[in-house]
């Protein structure tokens, strides 16, 4: 190709130009946010973080400068963006396990000792983010979104006539796989039969719910990005079953398609992470900030839908203090 050289020169000048353009330095503390994808839960975790920082006196554009990057769930782009943020920020915030681990590794291999705060990570120890939950011990800390799985399944035990429980999750989400293992143990401990269905993407949700056998009474959903983003689909699929399932969700954002949702509120989770970041920015060593978990006492009950499905919610559960009944 004759014009190859010209194109290369053009590209090179573009490269230098772009680098020069972004050369301005404001001197403000820079906070980089890497949000793995556009899922409602993750967006809430981002908004909560920004709000908590602002409440603590770190407003974007005033005291600090926030840069948000979102690779839309593409792994290669995710780690490339993590490198950019790790190099440019004074503190980074990773939302969801792939983004949090990418940031941690980018910070480490860049030889920067900047703090890494995470949220929406279910098992920070298994994901190799921290050495131990109560003593993170390095520059990484944050909020785990592990919900009250056993507590929620124990609520299910109060319903009448539960024999078999199904679990539905996205097989590619590490966080979900981890939670399903916990759920299985609790289901077995309650003496119920257990089946599970996994999907690879949103389009499979409806057929997975249709495939749950008719003798199953309840369906357990972990905090799962793909499923949480498609609760309307879950609801529709469940309504078209001969015998609708009692659906339990681990994220209060899922309540529209659930009878009971207990556990994590991602906006609150993001706020907690934001408070941690504010603490770190005012001088606390992240190594000394224990990994937090969301407020697990949150309980949402979708009575309207339960009535429509003909599911009787035990009075004991309805009487739970602090429960939000829709």
């Amino acid at each position: 190709m004759k014009h190859g050289n010209k194109t290369i020169v053009l590209l090179a000048s573009l490269l230098v130009g772009a680098a020069a353009l972004s050369g301005c330095d404001s001197g403000k503390t820079k906070v980089g946010i890497l949000q793995f994808g556009t899922f409602e839960a993750l967006t809430n975790a981002k908004n909560g973080f920004v709000e908590a920082l602002a409440d603590e006196g770190f407003k974007d554009g005033e005291q600090i400068e926030i840069t948000v990057k979102n690779p839309e769930a593409d792994s290669a782009t995710n780690s490339q963006m993590a490198g950019v943020l790790a190099a440019a920020s004074d503190l980074v915030y990773g939302i969801a396990t792939p983004s949090a681990t990418a940031l941690k590794n980018a910070v480490t291999s860049a030889g920067r000792e900047i703090p890494v705060v995470f949220s929406a990570v279910t098992d920070p120890v298994g994901a190799k983010l921290v050495a131990a939950l109560d003593q993170p011990g390095a520059n990484v800390t944050g909020m785990s979104d592990l919900g009250p799985i056993s507590e929620e399944l124990n609520l299910l035990a109060k319903f009448v006539g539960i024999d078999k429980v199904d679990t539905l999750y996205t097989s590619t989400e590490s966080n979900s796989v981890y939670q399903i293992a916990i759920a299985r143990t609790t289901i077995a401990a309650n003496g119920w039969g257990e089946t599970d269905h996994s999907v690879n993407n949103a389009s499979e949700i409806a057929s997975a719910i249709a495939a749950v056998s008719d003798d199953v009474d309840a369906l357990f959903l972990p905090t799962d990005d793909t499923i949480a983003a498609n609760m309307a689909m879950v609801k529709n699929a469940n309504e078209s079953r001969a015998k609708p399932l009692i659906i339990l969700g681990c994220d209060v954002g899922m309540i529209d398609g659930c009878v009971i949702a207990m556990g994590v509120d991602y906006f609150e989770l993001g706020k907690q992470a934001g408070l941690m970041a504010a603490q770190i920015l005012t001088g606390t060593d992240p190594a000394d900030i224990p990994v937090g978990t969301g407020d697990s006492s949150l309980l949402d009950i979708n009575k309207t839908w339960a009535d429509a499905l003909g599911v009787a919610i035990p009075a004991e559960i309805l009487a739970t203090t602090g429960a939000e009944i829709k």
């Binding site: 590209l11 190099a87 796989v177």
Partner: protein, 320 residues
């Protein structure tokens, strides 16, 4: 920009370019040499990533992990070829079948390990040793990492390109190329087209596997989602290289694949810089920029042809 940003701006795309150049080379062999659109890449990449991290966690030597990964890749290519050649499944579909199967195995491994196969920075990778050497020599963490990775992947890339070039120059390699170019003609010359397709796909998939294992040891993490978009990445890299760089000879064509890979990752890096906050437009900009880059050589050609035609016209115009 701070020093850290400058360093990252130039080194990070170099790293990615070197590693994903191998992926593009694999795609090149399947797509250009054999004329097969091999979609199994999207399943093979995450399988090898997850497998590599898993076995390293089990205490395998990273060099052994690389060897086994390449063998897994070759085996996958062979099975893929057998499916399409002997069970008469159309190649596009056999690639899809392989993609699902390999993807499923990556999910099984992840389940087996409790959801995560992430490495921490104390786990050994193929890069660790050299990084350690540079650190003891007094280099800082960034440069130890950068130089060690560039040297190791660079050496592997050079060896691979040399081997691939040598292989496609041998009688067998020529036969593979002939089988891809013109099946009837190859058969008429006594070449076993089936055998050559098997060999070609094995080499192609082995290269994809090599890229995957080098990549996950670079990022220290692997999930079954890692394969998403890999075939698109490989193809756009390939076309970028072909459009912008000379590729008349086979050697030049091989090198253009790597050139395309560097260009692609620098373009992405520039986009990150230009865009700053909020990346809702990232993929749209990426598409537009790729169109622009791919169209420039063509537009220049048209412009030049027009200019020379006009010049000719003025030269040939009758003198009044």
């Amino acid at each position: 920009m701070s020093t850290f940003e400058w360093q990252n701006f130039f080194i990070s795309p170099l790293n990615s370019g070197l590693i994903f150049g191998l992926l593009a080379l694999g795609v090149f062999i399947a797509f250009r040499v054999l004329d097969i659109a091999d979609l199994s890449v999207e399943g093979l990449f995450p399988l090898v990533s997850v497998f590599s991290c898993f076995t390293i966690l089990q205490g395998w030597n990273p060099a052994l992990v690389i060897v086994v990964s390449v063998l897994i890749g070759a085996a996958s290519g062979i099975i893929n070829a057998l499916l399409s050649l002997y069970l008469k499944i159309p190649p596009l579909l056999s690639g899809i079948v392989m993609m699902s199967a390999l993807f499923a195995i990556s999910i099984i491994i992840i389940h087996f390990n409790g959801g995560y196969v992430n490495l921490s920075n104390v786990d050994p990778t193929v890069y660790s040793w050299l990084i350690g050497v540079f650190k003891t020599a007094g280099l800082n963490t960034f440069w130890s990492n950068a130089v060690a990775k560039i040297i190791i992947v660079g050496v592997i890339d050079t060896l691979v390109v040399a081997l691939v070039y040598f292989f496609f120059g041998t009688e067998m390699g020529m036969a593979v190329r002939a089988a891809g170019k013109n099946k009837q003609m190859a058969r008429a010359n006594g070449i076993s087209v089936n055998q050559m397709t098997i060999i070609g796909l094995a080499v192609s998939s082995a290269l994809v596997a090599l890229a995957a294992t080098l990549y996950c040891q670079h990022t220290l993490s692997a999930t079954p989602q890692d394969g998403q978009g890999m075939i698109v990445l490989g193809l756009s890299t390939l076309f970028l290289g072909e459009t912008i760089l000379p590729h008349r000879s086979f050697k030049a064509h091989l090198l253009s694949v790597f050139g395309g890979s560097f260009i692609y990752w620098y373009v992405i890096q520039i986009l990150f810089k230009i865009m700053g906050d909020g990346d809702y437009f990232l993929y749209l900009y990426k598409a537009l920029l790729l169109v622009l880059i791919l169209a420039i050589p063509h537009l220049l050609k048209i412009a030049k042809a027009k200019i020379s035609r006009r010049r000719q016209e003025t030269e040939n115009a009758p003198v009044r």
